[in-house]
């Protein structure tokens, strides 16, 4: 079996096919400190892509509460438990096995197979706290919090080394060379469900009406036109940005995704130890349990949390965060100069310009003309 380079794990990993990185790689960065689980992303995706027969239960994008939530039920705990110890070296190299490396001889990928009841509770554990129970009210006056939860929005990670693709016996799953989006060929799929079993993030879903498996398509028709996916552009909290991520050696500091992941090392892949190089990246929540975060995001999470707390001192990062959510278009390059953040498209044409600090405008508390006290409504 070939070995392929996995920079998340700082080592080569086994994969059934040779490594061919796409010309560029679709990626989303989420700031988990901002997500409020309004599920607008979920519904934007649902109404766009999964309103047909057989898709009734599907949420290609979902938001679950950690630590107790999971769609399907306990997807993460069940695969982590199967994988066993997941140790990291001090230099950031992963010492454990990946899902491909840990597969028994009879399987292509170590997996668990969800049953129908596992898909029936998309909101299980919503707003339930980790950190044990209390007899009376809590006081959350330091970081991290003793009692904590956070929301985890999830799409397909369009992995560099997808488990779904590795597991498909029909070679019906492919990764697009132009943007790294992973698709299930709906004309070749026979609904064997091997991808549903193999994807540890459980983002392949079986359609019992068409008898094929389906998954998040990264909104490729929009991406091809330079527009970000529906779940991103509809995010009312402006917590996410879609762009293209580079491997570390060729990262560009003026690329928004590279900036957040490589330059500032604020955003991390989730469950990188599974070995698939997933391409959705999370700015970790600063209030949650550090050990839990380390399990989910790896040992670099503590530095990322520390950096995020200092972010207000970084005008360039602050400028980029002002650009996120300000445009439907994919930002390929950004600049922050003299308090103004500017985003550029693929042709390097300006698509938006925002002040990093908005000019305050003060109004008198009493409106003389109307003879009324003003409130904060516009």
């Amino acid at each position: 079996m070939p070995n392929v380079e996995n920079w998340h794990l700082k080592r080569d990993v086994a994969y059934p096919y040779e490594g061919h990185r796409p010309a560029r790689q679709w990626a989303i960065v989420f700031d988990l400190n901002k997500c409020i689980a309004c599920q607008t992303c979920t519904l934007a995706c649902k109404t766009t892509w999964t309103s047909g027969k057989g898709q009734e239960y599907m949420f290609w994008n979902n938001v679950e509460t950690k630590p107790w939530g999971g769609f399907p039920l306990a997807w993460d705990l069940r695969i982590l438990e199967k994988l066993g110890r997941q140790d990291w070296a001090a230099n950031g190299e992963y010492l454990g096995k990946t899902l491909i490396e840990a597969a028994p001889p009879t399987e292509r990928v170590l997996h668990f197979a969800p049953k129908d009841e596992d898909w029936m509770y998309p909101n299980i554990g919503e707003d339930d706290c980790g950190g044990g129970t209390l007899d009376s009210g809590a006081h959350l006056d330091s970081l991290p919090h003793d009692k904590w939860f956070f929301y985890l929005p999830r799409t397909c990670a369009h992995c560099t080394y997808p488990a779904c693709l590795a597991a498909c016996p029909r070679k019906a799953i492919y990764k697009r060379p132009e943007d790294g989006i992973v698709l299930i060929d709906q004309s070749r799929c026979k609904g064997y469900g091997e991808c549903v079993r193999a994807c540890p993030y459980k983002k392949s879903m079986y359609n019992p009406w068409t008898r094929t498996s389906e998954k998040c398509i990264g909104c490729y028709p929009a991406v091809e036109q330079g527009i970000q996916p529906q779940c991103v552009v509809n995010c009312i909290g402006k917590i996410r940005v879609m762009g293209f991520i580079s491997p570390p050696a060729v990262a560009r500091a003026d690329n928004p995704v590279d900036f957040l992941v490589h330059e500032k090392q604020l955003a991390l892949p989730y469950y990188p130890q599974l070995g698939l190089e997933p391409n959705i990246y999370y700015i970790p929540p600063i209030h949650a349990d550090p050990q839990y975060l380390e399990q989910m995001f790896g040992p670099r999470v503590h530095e990322a949390v520390a950096r995020y707390k200092e972010l207000h001192k970084d005008p360039e990062a602050a400028g980029l965060l002002c650009l996120i959510g300000g445009t439907e278009r994919i930002i390929h390059r950004f600049t922050v100069k003299a308090g103004i953040a500017v985003g550029y498209d693929e042709k390097d044409e300006e698509i938006l310009r925002v002040p990093v600090t908005e000019t305050p405008f003060e109004r008198a508390a009493f409106d003389e003309k109307l003879g009324a006290v003003r409130n904060n409504n516009p």
Partner: protein, 301 residues
């Protein structure tokens, strides 16, 4: 050789023992001894296909003429070559009978399976059986679904497909009666363009014409040139019908003797076939199957 037509006759001894113990416990009286049957215990070396005077146009596992045809035992093992594959052999033998009427060949295939599995629900798989035949010339292709330029012709029956034919392809409400669905796109009366194509645009597999996505009749005809290459073809009139009773599947698959562009059988001409069985209840699907590891010679008399 004459044999009792009861499907119980093919049950492995341990299942018979379990069944008789259960009966004993339930009745509280001495169980009736099972009728003596002539179970084949030695491996079939050649499948003889005798001519019958009977209507073979509709596959019928209970047809009277099957009583007069000796069944042959064909051993199966868990597919051992390509992952994913079963960890254990779930179906160790299949009992095969075959007859023809000069234009159609009928095969009755029987195997023990403790539960009926028709798939449908998420994460469920269907019981199934398949026969494969070489496509071209006298050279036998790989028994593992053929090889490049050495295709095999497969007849694949699924309980799931038979359910489609007998009770209709299930929708979510059939599978989950308590499911709540407001409406489907283009499925409301005032939809300005709610034609069939408009509705099917929301069913990707159907919209793109994937044979897997349509209602089935029972048997798929498939051409394959090795693992991962199976392709459902336009049918040539093959049909199938199965009955599951008392822990035993009894499935009849009929196929035309001559199939242009496919596998062809002829009186007096040597041919071969092989078998695969899937137990849906054991999560078997695709390469997770039990197979016969060799070509079985077939002689049409």
């Amino acid at each position: 050789m004459h044999r009792n037509s009861s499907p119980l006759g093919f049950l492995p001894t341990r299942l018979l023992l379990a069944a008789s113990s259960a009966l004993w416990a339930a009745c509280g009286t001495a169980p009736t001894a099972p009728a003596p049957v002539a179970l084949p215990t030695t491996e079939l070396t050649e499948l003889a296909v005798n001519v019958v005077t009977a209507d073979l146009s509709r596959p019928d596992p209970d047809a009277a003429f099957w009583r007069d045809v000796a069944p042959g035992l064909v051993s199966l093992i868990a597919q051992p070559v390509t992952a994913p594959r079963p960890e254990i052999t779930t179906t160790s033998s299949i009992y095969v009978q075959a007859v023809h009427d000069a234009s159609t060949v009928a095969f009755r295939l029987q195997w023990a399976d403790t539960e009926l599995s028709e798939a449908g629900h998420l994460g469920e798989f269907s019981d199934a059986v398949a026969m494969e035949f070489p496509m071209v010339g006298d050279k036998l292709p790989s028994v593992m679904m053929g090889a490049k330029d050495d295709p095999v012709h497969i007849f694949h029956w699924r309980a799931q497909y038979q359910r489609d034919a007998e009770r209709g392809k299930p929708e979510i409400k059939d599978l989950y009666p308590n499911a709540s669905v407001d409406m489907y796109p283009m499925d409301f009366k005032d939809a300005p363009s709610g034609g069939k194509d408009d509705k099917e645009a929301f069913n990707p597999g159907i919209a793109i014409g994937n044979p897997q996505s349509y209602s089935k009749t029972g048997v798929d005809e498939i051409i394959a040139e090795g693992f991962s290459t199976s392709s459902v073809e336009e049918g040539h009139g093959a049909a199938g019908r199965g009955v599951w009773k008392d822990g035993m599947w009894s499935v009849v698959i009929t196929r035309p003797m001559v199939i242009d562009g496919g596998s062809t059988l002829a009186v007096g001409r040597p041919n071969s076939l092989s078998f695969a069985v899937w137990q849906g209840g054991k999560d078997e699907v695709a390469s997770r199957k039990c197979i016969h590891m060799a070509w079985l010679p077939l002689k049409v008399l």
